[in-house]
């Protein structure tokens, strides 16, 4: 297998891009990533997108974006894996370069949530669950998280206040990220007073859906321009693992098995232990997902992930910083683009370009996105330096 490096990154601010179309939004990120990569020309384009056929009435996205970006003639395909679409598209790009099929791959994640308002968005999101046996009963993505959170609190005797650490940390970090949707810190009191959305979940346990696009240029190291600056970041490990689609089909819904296995496999390929990473960009779509992800990755025992949060181990100065640029909660959740944003942000950390959010001497990052309640998990290990 050929080594694969990330040669360029690009991202738009996550927000309500009313004036910008799906194709324009994607191109904004593509243009930045290509510039950042010194003009390397890709032979393949993979697009991570979750809902464009429903929210924007646009399928066949990869061809559209290759066309719009002036890349007609290259290979192009869309990769859909619900909330993990971005990570799955990155993995496709990684495999294309690692296998020798392409020297340079372009990967873009894009989502436009705001073309539809109201109950249509919930209905579109629900199509990622089991249509015949979950969505038909009016189950929503948010309700799934609420079911898990209530059961978690019940089984492990955890108070609701214990989850405050996730949104508080995410918003504190979002304040230092100019591309974040929310750039303002919140206090634990704000969390405690927030209105309930789907009990026990409150407003601050849920990441906001919004528009955004992020892009990566992947390459084999020998095609990089000489004296490339900044240092290229290596993809040292990559793994994607599926679980049952429906939450009710799992023997233990509180154990995110796909998340656990994909961390294990990605770290095994990188020949590291998860404890050797300097930061963990996890998928905090809901506070409870953050807790279960920490446990699945092996940073806490089952039923004890909330203590890491409660005791402030996850802030920028903590033992295992997470959501270092705001995570889904404060940066925002642009669906199929989220997995690419996470990697762009981890690259910023490893390059030393994370500004006030910089983790000193960050050399290695673990990045994970989930589709549904970890019905699929895609994990990458990124490294810089020797």
């Amino acid at each position: 297998m050929v080594e694969v490096v990330i040669a360029g990154i690009g991202q738009t601010r996550v927000e309500e891009h009313w004036a910008v179309s799906l194709r324009e939004l994607a191109f904004m990120a593509i243009e930045q990533a290509q510039l950042d990569a010194g003009g390397l020309q890709p032979q393949v384009l993979y697009v991570g997108n979750m809902l464009a056929p429903q929210l924007s009435h646009q399928a066949h996205l990869a061809t559209l974006l290759a066309d719009f970006a002036g890349l007609t003639g290259i290979e192009a395909a869309t990769v859909e894996a619900a909330g993990a679409s971005g990570g799955a598209a990155l993995r496709a790009g990684y495999l294309a370069v690692a296998s020798g099929q392409a020297d340079v791959a372009l990967v873009v994640g894009v989502e436009k949530f705001t073309d539809v308002v109201g109950s249509g968005v919930e209905a579109a999101l629900a199509t990622s669950s089991d249509g015949d046996y979950e969505a038909i009963h009016g189950l929503t993505s948010t309700a799934q998280a609420a079911l898990l959170m209530r059961r978690y609190m019940h089984e492990f005797n955890v108070p609701r206040q214990a989850f405050a650490g996730f949104p508080v940390t995410a918003h504190a970090n979002g304040a230092g990220n100019k591309n974040a949707m929310y750039q303002k810190a919140i206090t634990p009191e704000t969390y405690h007073k927030a209105g309930v959305v789907s009990d026990p979940l409150n407003m601050f346990d849920i990441a906001p859906n919004a528009d955004g696009a992020a892009a990566l240029v992947l390459a084999r190291p020998d095609v990089l321009p000489p004296h490339a600056s900044p240092l290229p970041v290596r993809i040292a490990g990559s793994s994607s693992v599926s679980d049952t689609l429906a939450l009710h089909d799992r023997n233990d819904p509180l154990s995110f098995q796909a998340a656990r296995l994909s961390v294990e496999r990605a770290c095994q390929r990188a020949r590291i232990s998860p404890l050797q990473v300097d930061l963990f960009e996890l998928y905090d779509l809901y506070s409870i997902y953050g807790v279960l992800s920490l446990e699945s990755a092996g940073f806490a025992q089952r039923g004890e992930g909330w203590k890491l949060v409660h005791d402030d181990h996850i802030s920028l100065k903590g033992t295992m910083p997470v959501s270092t640029m705001g995570g889904l909660k404060a940066r925002g959740n642009p669906g199929g683009a989220t997995g690419i944003y996470q990697v762009v942000e981890a690259v910023q950390q490893l390059r030393g370009q994370a500004g006030v959010n910089q983790i000193p001497e960050a050399r290695r990052a673990l990045v994970q996105c989930l589709g549904g309640p970890a019905a699929i998990a895609v994990t990458h290990v990124l490294e810089v330096g020797s």
Binding site: G118, S119, G120, E122, A123, L125, A126, D130, D132, Y133, E134, A135, I136, H137, G138, L139, T140, T142, A143, A146, L147, L148, R150, R151, H154, V197, S198, D199, P200, L201, T244, A246, L247, H248, D249, P253
Partner: protein, 136 residues
Amino acid sequence: MEISRHWRLRKQRYSLVGEECPHCKAKLFPPRDVCPECGHEAKTLYNFSGRGKVYSYTTVYEPPAGYEENAPYTVALVKLDEGPMVTAQLTDLGDQPVEIGTPVEMVTRRLRQDGDERGLIIYGYKFRPILASQPA
């Protein structure tokens, strides 16, 4: 109108017909043809009793399109007595508080209606609490 999509699931929706694995006797709902316990083919039909206990529950205030008329509604994971877990709404709750562990039984109710008065009405299973005075 999506008539065949719902019609073909009538046995599951109206009477919780699942499967039993002929090899390891695991009970399966929804039917899935390959037993997740032993990996063998499992196509023997099995009628579930419709009784179980609440594993977890929540309330949906912001429903997807098509479910507005029921909102807010309670949705739950119900652990059936025979083993499998199902997703379903809880109904006929009255003033009775739901709790994890509450015994419930299957009833047939309207799940949703598509479109106007000429639209398709989709029926299926929901669960209601088993009253303490009823024989178990």
